[in-house]
């Protein structure tokens, strides 16, 4: 015998085990008397359990470095120290990079100079020009000499256009683009599927030499490095592991300037 009628809310609370013991007993009695409702509640319980199982492992994954709360708090409280720390980290990376190794190092996007800035500029060029269907490049590949002259004049040093055919990318053309750190040459490539790749290069005041580092720009990945005062950043909607050999090819070819 039940004092109050059993409501839909009671049934939902029964699924979530959130009923008071007395009410729990009343609901149980009600379910016993109504098998079709009991079946529905049983389905809800199974559904709840299945959902929990489906998403359980997400909470067990190790936290990525970007989600370390202690570090985030520290960075926010001591903006002055962050610069020193980045500089120290960069110095260490330079030493390691000198051995020629490929380094996976996420550059903090807040860094305002050097290759971190260059990687952001390349990402911006990629975001603006790569989706452009009408005018992705100012000077097309068949006017290569004009583009090279233009870039050399603005960058005040000779520039080479890497040949990425071996990686499956054709040179489309390029343009000189503005960055907060002066003019940069942007070269664009595409493959048979129309996937576009952007290479940005400019002279470097900070980080004149820096080992390769990878960046994640949403759905695109970036690889950025600098060598003898010239910085390079390559951005494409590819997994970092596939972009890396292309970046190494660019570095190999541009090493002979």
């Amino acid at each position: 015998m039940t004092a109050r009628p059993i409501t839909e809310e009671d049934l939902q609370a029964a699924v979530d085990c959130r009923l008071q013991p007395t009410r729990q007993a009343e609901v149980a009695a009600h379910l016993e008397a109504h098998p079709e409702i009991a079946e529905r509640v049983r389905d809800y319980r199974q559904q709840r359990e299945a959902l929990r199982v489906s998403f359980a492992s997400v909470a067990e994954e190790p936290l990525p470095a970007e989600l370390h709360l202690g570090r985030m708090i520290e960075n926010r409280q001591q903006p002055g120290r962050r610069w020193w720390r980045s500089a120290a980290a960069a110095a260490v990376l330079l030493c390691i990079g000198g051995t020629g190794g490929w380094l996976l190092h996420d550059v903090a996007p807040s860094t305002s100079a050097g290759i971190a800035a260059l990687s952001q500029e390349a990402a911006a060029s990629y975001a603006v020009y790569a989706p452009d269907l009408v005018h992705p490049v100012e000077v097309r590949a068949d006017n290569r000499a004009v583009l090279l002259d233009w870039a050399a004049q603005r960058l005040k040093r000779s520039v080479t256009i890497p040949d990425l055919a071996a990686s499956g990318y054709r040179f489309m053309g390029g343009r000189v683009v503005a960055t907060a750190h002066g003019p940069a040459a942007m070269f664009m490539y595409d493959d048979d599927k129309g996937t576009r790749l952007v290479l940005l290069t400019r002279t470097m005041a900070a980080d004149q030499t820096a080992p390769m580092s990878k960046q994640s720009h949403g759905t695109a990945a970036g690889v950025t490095w600098a060598s003898r005062g010239i910085g390079f950043s390559i951005v494409a909607p590819l997994p970092a592991a596939r972009l890396q050999p292309i970046a190494e090819e660019v570095r190999r070819q541009s090493g002979n300037i």
């Binding site: 699924v15 709840r48 997400v58 909470a59 709360l69």
Partner: protein, 175 residues
Amino acid sequence: MKDMMRLIEPLIPALRRYARALLRDRTAADDLVQDCLERAIGRWHQRRPDGDARSWVFTILHNLAMNQLRRSSARGRHMAIEDADDEALSRPPVQEDALRHADLLHALAALPEEQRSVILLVSIEDLPYAETAKVLDIPIGTVMSRLARGRERLRRAMAGEAGLAPPAPYLRRVQ
């Protein structure tokens, strides 16, 4: 900030789980949680000290997620559900379970956003109804009715009654 570490840090795995269930994309979800934590740090001193930290930080995350989903749907670029990052979610080891699991995720994807949020917060995150109401900024009666409607819809979809229509993609890929 010591109490922030104590109260918020243990919630980060659950925040990641909720974000991933909403956006269904590992990178986008973690970016969202990072954004949420940055905001939480910035607003920590504005928080009512007697307020519950969990519903407070879940509210921030939920609002960011809704903004993102709205923004990207306004942009009109979307990703078909088949392309969604299923790898981002776990898979039960047994084969038949895996199929059922995929069906369930499809059915979940087909739910209206408002019902999905309630189901995720109540069923997976174990938020009490009153806390869920606070996070979603709706009356508790609305939580209960959305929960009942959402669960029934999922049940029918799983039973193959209402699940025939292809689910509308809910993840909008942000460039």
